[in-house]
């Protein structure tokens, strides 16, 4: 059942508009102060006034997030490979990683500011740290969760470890890694923003914090709106990749 994009988007857009109308015209009848919940129009006005600053800071946050995510992708997949192909790594690294994963990583953020400074490095590394685990764990599952018969088949045909890796393991891992990215991307954003909350003077997190100091709630809302648009765009991009290259996934098949 293929529906046109316009029809698919119709209902969500209608419900968003309904909420906005209710918000705009219902709010004046309550006694909620505007610094707690500003009117949608007030947010729109503030968005317009501060658009340049918002976009500039979003750009900073987006860069640290995406760099952190890219780093997590590379390191996460490499770690998964090491675990599979180097038994010693499997024995040593996995328990260490599991223990490390038990620490709430946000709690490490202040330490990262001390270690790596107030600049962008600490944000990139925080984004990396948060996105690393889901990507690593998913990559690992994807590389090993393969029927034993497939390996038997490959070995009977004369498959070398390298060929099996490239044509079986890696291909099998791809959708798992994409899932890891879907989870890791919003987490990387959390890492960046928390980093900006704690130290530094750039990024959308910094802007939100200054909005809080000045009770400039419309600015905070405008910033949140832009962040969610950024996240949505990122996820949409990943889904597009999935649709184009991983159409064979059970969840992606057309009925």
């Amino acid at each position: 059942m293929a529906r046109s994009p316009a029809r698919r988007l119709g209902k969500p857009i209608a419900s968003v508009i309904a909420v906005l109308l209710l918000w705009q015209f219902g709010l004046p009848h309550t006694n909620i102060p505007t610094y707690v919940l500003p009117l949608p129009t007030a947010i729109a006005v503030r968005l317009d006034q501060t658009f340049g600053a918002l976009i500039g800071n979003l750009g900073v946050t987006a860069s640290t997030t995406l760099l952190g995510l890219a780093l997590a992708l590379v390191i996460g997949v490499l770690l998964a490979l090491a675990v599979i192909f180097v038994p010693a790594v499997n024995a040593v690294l996995v328990p260490v990683l599991a223990a490390f994963n038990g620490i709430p990583k946000i709690a490490i953020a202040p330490l990262f500011i001390i270690w790596f400074g107030l600049g962008l490095e600490s944000k990139i590394l925080l984004a990396f740290l948060l996105a690393l685990f889901p990507i690593f764990v998913n990559a690992l599952s994807g590389l090993v969760e393969i029927e034993a018969d497939v390996f038997d088949l490959a070995r009977l045909a004369g498959g070398t470890t390298m060929r099996i890796f490239l044509k079986v393991r890696l291909m099998n891992a791809l959708p798992f890694i994409v899932d890891g990215l879907k989870v890791g991307f919003p987490l990387a954003l959390v890492g960046s923003i928390v980093g900006e909350f704690i130290g530094g003077n750039r990024g959308i997190g910094h802007l939100i914090l200054s909005g809080q100091f000045n009770l400039d709630t419309p600015l905070v809302f405008a910033a949140l709106l832009l962040i969610s648009l950024f996240t949505t765009a990122g996820i949409a991009l990943i889904s597009l990749f999935e649709k184009r290259f991983l159409g064979w996934r059970p969840s992606r098949r057309q009925r």
């Binding site: 038997d152 009977l156 045909a157 004369g158 060929r163 044509k167 291909m171 791809l174 159409g247």
Partner: protein, 268 residues
């Protein structure tokens, strides 16, 4: 154990004697404390179609995996063309009970998978793969993904894949187990065609006595665990076997005999 086979054990091959394609001598397989295979000896010659039947858990799959060199016997020896088998056998095609297709590859790409594993170029085997798919009745489905194929079609892709590199031995582990009775029968006849065209040797595990009697030159009947060879039944029906073979008196006789042998009833 010595009475477990009808075939006389041959002495070590003399100079002039032709070496058997496959030779098992006193093969045993023990998993921890579980005896799966308890001393099996038999030989298979070139171009033979041999079925293996026996109760569930008697070690048929284990036997095939040993023949493929995927697992080693606990004792005894397996020789391919007179050479002791060490590690995964080259020159062996395998069909498992489930199709085991890679979901991200089309039917054609799945057939070509074994060529790629061998380090060959796809291009070299492409036309052969297409021929095999056509022979298996899959013309027009070459570029479909596995999920777009029915279970029987997937299994036929798996059979084409096992044939691609023209192996001298094809091991099939209940390849039609998941199919309905009609498709299964049709696939049996198709397999007979493919086999007689490819001149390879087939070892075929099945739970269907009809299938075994219809397709085989010989049927190896195994006992319940620990797996031993109870009897080797020679099927002397003329080829090609057709649907009417099923109702020929000789066929019925052989099938009844195999059935009683499996059940442990002895018929002279």
């Amino acid at each position: 154990m010595s009475d477990s086979t009808v075939e006389p054990r041959q002495p070590a091959p003399a100079v002039a004697a032709p070496t058997a394609l496959v030779e098992l001598s006193s093969v045993r397989k023990v998993f921890d404390d579980l005896i799966a295979i308890d001393g099996i000896s038999f030989q298979v010659t070139d171009n033979e179609f041999v079925s293996i039947v026996g109760p569930s858990g008697c070690g048929k799959s284990t036997l095939l995996r040993m023949l493929a060199g995927l697992i080693a016997p606990s004792s005894g020896a397996i020789r391919l063309r007179g050479r002791p088998l060490q590690g995964p056998a080259r020159d062996v095609g395998m069909v498992f009970q489930s199709p085991v297709l890679l979901p991200w590859r089309t039917a054609l790409e799945n057939v070509l998978f074994v060529a790629e594993m061998r380090g060959e170029r796809r291009r070299t085997y492409r036309s052969r793969a297409l021929d095999l798919l056509r022979l298996a009745g899959l013309a027009g489905f070459e570029n479909r993904m596995p999920y777009e194929l029915s279970g029987g079609m997937q299994q036929r892709v798996a059979i084409c894949r096992a044939l691609l590199l023209n192996p001298s031995i094809i091991l099939m582990d209940e390849p039609f187990g998941a199919l309905d009775i009609i498709t299964r029968e049709r696939m049996g006849f198709e397999l007979q065609n493919i086999w007689s065209a490819s001149r390879s040797t087939v070892l075929f595990v099945t739970h269907s006595i009809t299938e075994a009697a219809l397709l085989s030159d010989r049927i190896l009947v195994m006992s319940a665990r620990p797996g031993r060879l109870v009897e080797v039944v020679r099927v002397d029906l003329p080829r090609p076997r057709e649907r009417r073979t099923l109702s020929s008196p000789r066929f019925v006789e052989i099938a009844a005999h195999v059935s009683e042998t499996i059940a442990g009833g002895w018929v002279e």
